[in-house]
């Protein structure tokens, strides 16, 4: 290879090498987009931090045993949130016991067993989508008409929990269906090829595999339900309850208590409201934690 060729090939090699180096400069559009993404994330995080920060600053001084164990009173020094805390926990338990299995079962039926081509199946699916978008206060009116008055339950905790359950259904059904859909068809095929019935395959293989997704969807629905105020007010949740609630007694929940305390004139009650918000958040985080634990327990087996 003579000198001219050698120079030419070196030059070619250099050109290739340098073309690799230059690419770090992104176009203006790409940089703007990246900035926008970072900004949005940052905005959300900052807003959340400010919110939490304010609440913690306002509420921590008032977070004490009285708050957790005492009953509401017009005297801020003695006021506690115990009945409301208990009621919120009981609502959560009722939801987990009634709405959750119902929603998951509906999701399983629609996704695994329902014949796809019937018109009434399509109708049901369409309605579930719509239900998810209905404002919560409508559920409250529904509950008032059918459960409180129609069924004669009266303004009791069970009625409130049931109506929150109804509101929660669409979210969890949709989440359950998505989770089931994510289980590959090969799992079902493999199970059926072994001589299992469809029910056996779904119960033993598909549903367990979908649990992480279902858990996530359930928590979303549950968290929203526990934080609801408007529908419960419609079904007659009281604002001042000093005894421990039962399923068939009058009740109040944390969000309503917070709302009530915020409206009282005394400055201390504002602080108590902030403290109650911390308690509510703690409750939600606990539920989330439980769901994550459930999810991890199932994921570890894979």
């Amino acid at each position: 290879m003579n000198a001219a060729n050698r120079t030419a090939s070196t030059a070619a090699a250099n050109a290739v090498a340098s073309s690799l180096v230059g690419r770090r400069q992104r176009s203006v559009g790409a940089r703007l987009f990246l900035f926008y993404l970072v900004f949005s994330t940052g905005f959300g995080l900052v807003a959340l931090a400010v919110l939490l920060g304010t609440i913690l600053v306002d509420g921590l001084p008032f977070l004490d045993l009285t708050l957790l164990t005492g009953a509401p009173s017009s005297n801020p020094g003695m006021a506690g949130a115990r009945p409301a805390i208990l009621a919120s926990i009981m609502v959560a338990i009722v939801l987990v016991a009634t709405a959750l299995p119902l929603a998951v079962a509906t999701g399983v039926y629609l996704e695994e067993f329902a014949p796809r081509d019937r018109w009434w199946i399509r109708l049901i699916e369409l309605n579930i989508q719509n239900l998810a978008a209905i404002p919560s206060i409508i559920f409250g009116i529904l509950g008032l008409a059918f459960l409180v008055r129609g069924l004669g339950l009266g303004p009791v905790l069970l009625a409130g929990a049931l109506i929150l359950g109804l509101q929660m259904l669409p979210t969890v059904i949709i989440a359950a269906r998505e989770a089931l859909r994510a289980v590959p068809a090969s799992v079902r095929q493999g199970g059926m090829a072994l001589g299992a019935t469809r029910l056996q395959v779904v119960w033993r293989e598909v549903l367990p595999a979908a649990i992480p997704g279902i858990a996530t969807g359930s928590i979303l629905g549950l968290s929203r339900a526990v934080g609801e105020t408007a529908p419960l007010l419609m079904v007659g949740a009281a604002t001042f309850v000093s005894y421990n609630p039962g399923l068939l007694t009058q009740y109040t929940v944390l969000p309503i208590l917070i709302y009530q305390w915020m409206r009282l004139p005394q400055a201390d009650f504002q602080g108590l409201a902030a403290a109650a918000i911390i308690v509510l958040l703690a409750l939600l985080i606990a539920m989330n934690g439980f769901a994550i634990w459930m999810r991890n327990r199932h994921e570890r087996k894979w």
Binding site: Q189, A193, A196, T197, E205, A209
Partner: protein
């Protein structure tokens, strides 16, 4: 279309010699194995005029094929010629496809598989299937194999059953110390053998394999081919394969499918020729078979 009954191979062990793709020795003296002194192995499947339509569109027609006991039968042919569709007819997996209709008669041990009183679930307990892409459940190895016996009701001596199944699938030695580990942590070839073990655990009569090695590397493929040869002593094996050399290596009988222009102008699968494997690969009767095996036609 030529209808030829599958001939029993009088000496099936000659086909499976590792490393020798075809029975080269003794070509001049070998004749079609119609040695009447050897009893013909009994028929497991007797399929007559089998056809399949999907939502009214014909995908397969007029398949007349017999599958004999304790032999490996391979279905070969180009893509879209209905081999997998036909395979699914044998264990009623086409029932799970909406819009699929099967016509014709499929006799399994002289019993009509599609008869009015036949339960498809029972059929699948006796006729197992292994799929193209290994599909172990996302559970432990133990639970994967145990699934079959548990749903079928063979709950006794579960540990023994699982060990037996894994031994028959030539996987026991590799996993015996980690039965509780996840099945998805195994390699592709091991996963496929796991799926075979899973199918064996319900003690089937027949094992159907739909392109079992197409997702695997050559070494895993060789292991599974050896497995097929050893399985045929106790089971009947039917495989669909795109790989002609695989059919040449492992199958006793080979059936060649291809496509024909249907009545409505759409292509539909048909059976062209079925014979002992060595005949298909040394002197096939139908020129379409010759064109396919020599690679003159894709």
């Amino acid at each position: 279309m030529v209808e030829i009954e599958a001939q029993p191979d009088a000496a099936p062990t000659q086909m499976a010699t590792r490393g020798v793709p075809l029975n080269v020795a003794g070509v001049a003296t070998r004749t079609a194995p119609t040695d009447l002194s050897v009893e013909q192995p009994e028929l497991v499947f007797d399929c007559r005029e089998i056809g399949v339509r999907y939502n009214g569109v014909r995908a397969l027609r007029d398949v007349n094929l017999q599958i004999r006991r304790n032999a490996v039968t391979a279905l070969i042919g180009p893509s879209g010629c209905g081999k997998s569709t036909f395979l699914r007819c044998l264990n009623r997996m086409n029932d799970l496809i909406p819009g699929a209709e099967v016509d014709g008669v499929c006799l399994y041990h002289d019993e009509d598989l599609y008869g009015p009183n036949i339960d498809a679930i029972e059929v699948r307990k006796r006729i197992g299937m292994v799929f193209q892409k290994p599909n172990p459940f996302p559970k432990s190895i133990y639970d994967n194999i145990a699934f079959g016996p548990r749903v079928v009701g063979l709950k006794d001596h579960l540990d023994d059953r699982i060990e037996e199944a894994l031994r028959r699938a030539a996987l026991w030695d590799e996993v015996k110390d980690r039965l509780k580990e996840g099945a998805l942590s195994l390699s592709g070839g091991q996963q496929q053998r796991l799926c075979i073990a899973r199918a064996l655990a319900v003690e089937p009569d027949v094992i159907l394999m739909d392109e079992p090695c197409s997702a695997l590397d050559p070494i895993s493929t060789a292991a599974i081919e050896d497995l097929m040869t050893s399985l045929k002593t106790d089971y009947t094996v039917v495989i669909v394969t795109h790989n002609m050399q695989q059919a040449a290596r492992v199958a006793d009988t080979t059936a060649f499918f291809s496509t024909d222009q249907g009545e409505t102008g759409t292509r539909c699968g048909v059976l062209i020729e079925v014979a002992a494997t060595e005949k298909i690969f040394t002197k096939p009767e139908n020129e379409r078979t010759e064109a396919y095996v020599t690679g003159r036609f894709g």
